[in-house]
Symmetry: C2
Subunit: 360 residues, 2 copies
Amino acid sequence: MSGRVLQSFPRTAHWRGGLDGCLVLIDQTLLPTEFKEIECRDVESLWEAIRSLRVRGAPAIGVAAAYGVCLGMQRSTSGDLESFFRRLHEVCDYLATSRPTAVNLFWALDRMRRKAESMRGSPTPQIAQALLEEARAIEEEDRQMCRAIGRFGAELLCDGQGVLTHCNAGGLATADYGTALAVCFAAHEAGKRLHVYADETRPLLQGSRLTAWELQQRGIDVTLICDSMAAQVMREGRVQAVVVGADRIAANGDTANKIGTYGVALLAAAHEIPFYVAAPSSTFDLSLASGDEIPIEQRDPREITHGFGRQTAPEGVKVYNPAFDVTPARLIRAIICEHGVIEPVAEQNIRQMLQSNHPV
Amino acid sequence: MSGRVLQSFPRTAHWRGGLDGCLVLIDQTLLPTEFKEIECRDVESLWEAIRSLRVRGAPAIGVAAAYGVCLGMQRSTSGDLESFFRRLHEVCDYLATSRPTAVNLFWALDRMRRKAESMRGSPTPQIAQALLEEARAIEEEDRQMCRAIGRFGAELLCDGQGVLTHCNAGGLATADYGTALAVCFAAHEAGKRLHVYADETRPLLQGSRLTAWELQQRGIDVTLICDSMAAQVMREGRVQAVVVGADRIAANGDTANKIGTYGVALLAAAHEIPFYVAAPSSTFDLSLASGDEIPIEQRDPREITHGFGRQTAPEGVKVYNPAFDVTPARLIRAIICEHGVIEPVAEQNIRQMLQSNHPV
């Protein structure tokens, strides 16, 4: 892989073929040493792919889940409308159990349900076709959303700056261009020379495996550090901005993102470095007043004790492994979404930005 | 290993035999899955053992280096006094190149030099014997020092508290009982029930491999977390004190310790949790006005990119891998040394504590 620089960035999750086609995913667990696409031909294999992080990143999970609904309905168009909708809700409910924190998953499933409901009078093959078109629209909108986030966010960065990011909010976390990394990509494309510091992001190393790889592929200067080095890198004056993605944003701006993000936000505050969140509007969950209500996924202790192909902790040791944490709005300078920059981060500004662009 | 709880804690670095004996080290790179002692029979193998972290931890490096001088002098007692001292300085200078940050290394080597110089009139076999006794004294003093630190530090912890530690400042980092962990051990022995959170401490995982293991061996409740989880654990109110070791402390109290310590100190400050440093007087370097003057070791990028037997970052990626950082004195509530508790941390208090106990 290492020598080859990809000319066009690959699609994280896309559909191959017609109604009887399949979902093609980049298997992100194999990167950076192997670039391999896998085909999901049923909803169970997609569920496994989401749970095991072959596809991950809030927007990408949304795209994949939308296509997952199409997979789940492939053998259900011959029956009556009632059984079609029963199956649809089964499939959506099942996919919704794959991961609890990223709201884009539920957002995409809801949107697919609503699409089908809006066509309740139509023949089921026609609804199935509309569902596939809806999933494709979600993917395409995600692509456009990423570019808009990139454009808005790039304005916040200056030539020569150091930027720190945590986890992977890149092309691999979305349809193809990213959220936090889109900001870097767009700034780079606008001629700004950035030095990006990528936190490796234990336990699953999305920073070293995915973010460092994406930046390298795009020719952006990237330096890999351990999570524990972020404070020192800030202290040495190497970082002028922090940009991260999000898995769910509450109405007040509190933001759930990969574990470690909250710590990075505190460190940025201590060094007076602006901390930005980049995320599409589908990441907002206005039904939650604050981040306290966001469910946090707990993952397998073995991610920490056996994460690198060998045992690195004593047998039987207790482990705490939350996959996400919540960064309070007060630590976030601005949220960059596809409609613009929300600053300061406050409920009124969030509702205004989302409502003025999504009239109910 | 897992099932066996050690009855008495093993010695990290000790001498076996007489003048023609050897230095026995626990090979810490094999823990926690294998407990193995290795014999160093020449100074070169000890240098390699220090460089490759088979023995690590500032006080333990000091003990090992003192014995290393004995190893280096084993075949040098038949010549004249001049060549004996030439060789002595060669050996000390060579061992001093093994690692740059921990001052205990230089402290122990200086003490060995001074011992020999104080006996310049004596026959060389007698000086060699005195050097072995001096190294044994350093080890024994370290053992006593650890227990004194434990006694003083235990007073600062209360029953039922959560304590977070970073890296390993345990028995394995000293002759046998630790500095930061001595505080936990002594509190535990005094009947205080602690919940210790051990940062795994990337890149080399001294927290998961060594600290979790030591605490487990001693029957103390320990939970392993990734470094990136410390902020969340603090936010959830699980931690009431942070205790870490030190590799070098400047005259003003600025403290060099394992990379990530500075970040933990900032996070503790943000959560109003007291942050303590536990270290013997040999860790102080009063010749340095502040932490800015402490040399920071840069280590091999492969510790980050290939740390666990497989490649976890793209080929050729840039890496920044400082082994230590410096925590400014203002973030340290108190420094616990074998003579007592230095609080507040200020140059005058440090000099007073060290001078009143070590009259020149």
